[in-house]
């Protein structure tokens, strides 16, 4: 056969496979408001950057008449490309081919690209859109999932792993995203659950829609499984692209440097925080007053809003932010906010991203539900994550830092490298009201005017202890600074921490309170 004929043969073979499950299935996919797997890859990656592998892979299942069925590319597309020039490995399940079901060869394609990503030390993006296990392939399908979970775990903390849920992701399949660093969901398209509405109805008689059980909103607001919520696939891809600019390609590198841009002066840092510690404000405004270009990229925006996490840049360097949010639940630490913060701290530590912690919290949330939900072991995760982190740790105490909350929020005692406090900081064992009630209990009770005495004692305690200077006199705070000096101090601290080198004792691994 002449060469040009062979080339034409390749082109024809490709064209046939590129149609995936065929025009009818594609129409169905579009009717659900979804793009095809290939369109998704093209929308996400830099133009003409995608190299596809394993286009010609086919299944070899024999049972249940599977030998008579041809499934193009076995229902998944794999390859590599770039996002803003950064290399990424990618797989996208093709729902138009046998519902994107996972058979043995399907899973082998995924594990091939996973191995490739780990070996080449580049980020992995997985687009999930699958009905689940390919039942006809039986235990081979289960083996496939297991092989994926194992690789997710081994790659964890070495390369960034992003999961994008653009369709159903049910049963065992949910555990691959759950093992990755960031999960992206899209309203009305993403569906994740272990057991679906059908089973729940049969077993329990409870009726619930897929959306209410495991839709994008549920996982963004209630379960905390998802990190980014979008209203459309397009918005979701923009979020992924933006995230890629903030993170390094692997754990041996630092994130790319950008040109520093001064924050927008409309965020006047001197006037954001009210002096009265019981009054709320939006701590994101403080972050925006500090970061380059006032550009703060928030993560888990809708979950445990009493703590804020996300990325920004300081002098062009990616920085992770952890901040109590007085606007929501007074910024308390509780079960959910502890989980949220601890995981993010560990992410930053794994990928060489300095952490800035902004502190303003009254302590932990009281309540039977909190205690019974295990606020002790969940809260301990924050202590563990901060203590263990060896990336530069910078702390700014904006206002309240009471009791256990003070210790937990990246205090000097957990080895923060720099601790700054604003003049409005109150670093104390508890709030003035509570403390005065305990310390001066007898005087208050035996007074002719208990209310008057209480007020007087609260004032006394406030003057003596509700300030940053007691902690500063012990060296627990390195400098008391004006709010307007914050960016300057933080930028300098990050600059001088560039070569921070801390060694932990040898161990196989620690035992964080999972």
């Amino acid at each position: 056969m002449p060469v040009n004929k062979k080339i034409r043969e390749l082109q024809e073979k490709r064209e046939k496979i590129l149609l995936g499950g065929g025009e009818q299935a594609i129409e169905k996919q579009k009717a659900m408001g979804k793009r095809t797997a290939r369109e998704r890859i093209m929308a996400l990656l830099d133009e003409n950057s995608f190299n596809e592998y394993d286009l010609f892979v086919e299944h070899d299942a024999r049972d249940f008449d599977m030998d008579k069925k041809s499934l193009p590319s076995d229902g998944v597309i794999i390859g590599s490309g770039t996002i803003y020039g950064a290399p990424v490995a990618i797989f996208a399940q093709d729902f138009t081919v046998a519902g994107g079901s996972l058979g043995l060869m399907h899973s082998r394609k995924i594990t091939k690209i996973m191995d490739h990503a780990l070996k080449m030390r580049m980020p992995l993006i997985g687009i999930n859109d699958s009905g689940g296990a390919r039942i006809q392939e039986g235990v081979n399908s289960l083996a496939g999932y297991g092989e994926i979970f194992f690789r997710n775990t081994i790659s964890s903390g070495v390369i960034p792993q992003l999961s994008v849920i653009l369709g159903p992701c049910a049963g065992g399949a949910v555990y691959s995203p759950a093992l990755t660093d960031f999960v992206f969901v899209v309203d009305k398209i993403s569906k994740m659950f272990i057991t679906g509405p059908e089973v729940i109805k049969t077993v329990l008689g409870e009726e619930i829609s897929m959306e209410e059980l495991g839709g994008a909103r549920v996982h963004s607001e209630i379960t905390g499984n998802a990190h980014f919520f979008a209203l459309s696939e397009e918005e979701c891809f923009d979020q992924i692209k933006k995230l890629i600019t903030f993170i390094p390609w692997n754990n041996g590198q630092k994130a790319r440097m950008f040109e520093p841009v001064e924050p927008n002066p409309e965020y006047n840092i001197n006037t954001i925080v009210p002096d009265d510690p019981t009054l709320p404000y939006d701590v994101k405004d403080v972050i925006r007053a500090i970061v380059d270009n006032s550009d703060f990229f928030e993560i888990m925006q809708l979950y445990a809003k009493n703590i804020v996490i996300g990325f920004g840049r300081m002098g062009g360097r990616t920085t992770g932010f952890v901040a109590n949010q007085p606007l929501e639940m007074a910024g308390v630490l509780d079960v959910d906010s502890s989980d949220k913060a601890a995981r993010f701290i560990r992410y930053c530590d794994a990928f060489n991203i300095p952490i800035i912690t902004l502190v303003d919290l009254p302590g932990y949330l009281p309540g039977v539900d909190q205690e019974h939900a295990g606020v002790i072991r969940h809260g301990a995760k924050v202590l563990y994550a901060y203590s263990e982190a060896t990336v530069p740790k910078l702390t700014v105490i904006l206002r309240k830092a009471y009791g256990g909350g003070y210790i937990a929020m990246s205090s000097r005692h957990l080895r923060a490298d720099f601790v700054f406090a604003w003049p409005s900081a109150e670093i104390a064992v508890m709030g003035p009201e509570g403390a005065a009630n305990i310390i001066f209990r007898k005087e208050i009770l035996s007074s002719a005017d208990p209310d008057g005495t209480r007020k007087q004692k609260v004032e006394e305690y406030k003057t003596k202890f509700a300030n940053p200077y007691v902690a500063a006199s012990r060296g627990y705070v390195d400098a008391v600074i004006e709010p307007s000096e914050t960016r300057k101090f933080l930028m300098h601290s990050i600059e001088v921490s560039e070569n921070k080198d801390v060694h932990m004792p040898n161990k196989k691994h620690g035992l964080p309170p999972f």
Binding site: V203, L204, G205, E206, P277, T278, L279, P280, Y281, D282, K305, N306, P326, L327, E328, M329, A330, G331, V332, D336, P362, G363, L365, P366, G367, V368, D369, Y402, M430, G431, P432, E433, G434, N437
Partner: protein, 105 residues
């Protein structure tokens, strides 16, 4: 700051903080101590068999009913000496977790 109208008060260590109150906090169930005389289903399932009748005397270790759940037949045994006050379910009923099955006295 906007949305001032949505702010509530949260009491932490006798200080009252002006802040948004999460729906999770608002909807939390007030704690109720467990009553050993009220037998609840510990798992969702189906009542397969009932061995007792109202008014019957029972003692510790007696079989009360079988709750079929997660492909297992779970035998519920009596946890006290006393009398069956009432039975809230009948054979074949599907019950969710925490449903009252019967009351002892």
């Amino acid at each position: 700051m906007n949305n001032n109208d949505k702010l509530g008060l949260l009491n932490i260590d006798t200080s009252f903080y002006q802040t948004r109150i999460s729906s999770k906090f608002q909807n939390r169930k007030p704690y109720q101590p467990a009553d050993p005389r009220i037998i609840l289903s510990f798992i969702p399932g189906t009542v397969l068999e009932i061995f007792i009748k109202p008014g019957q005397n029972v003692s510790i270790g007696d079989d009360l009913m079988i709750l079929d759940a997660m492909k297992m037949q779970n035998k519920l045994k009596c946890n006290m000496n006393g009398k069956v006050k009432s039975i809230a379910v009948k054979k074949g009923d599907k019950v969710s977790k925490g449903t009252v099955l019967l009351e002892l006295e």
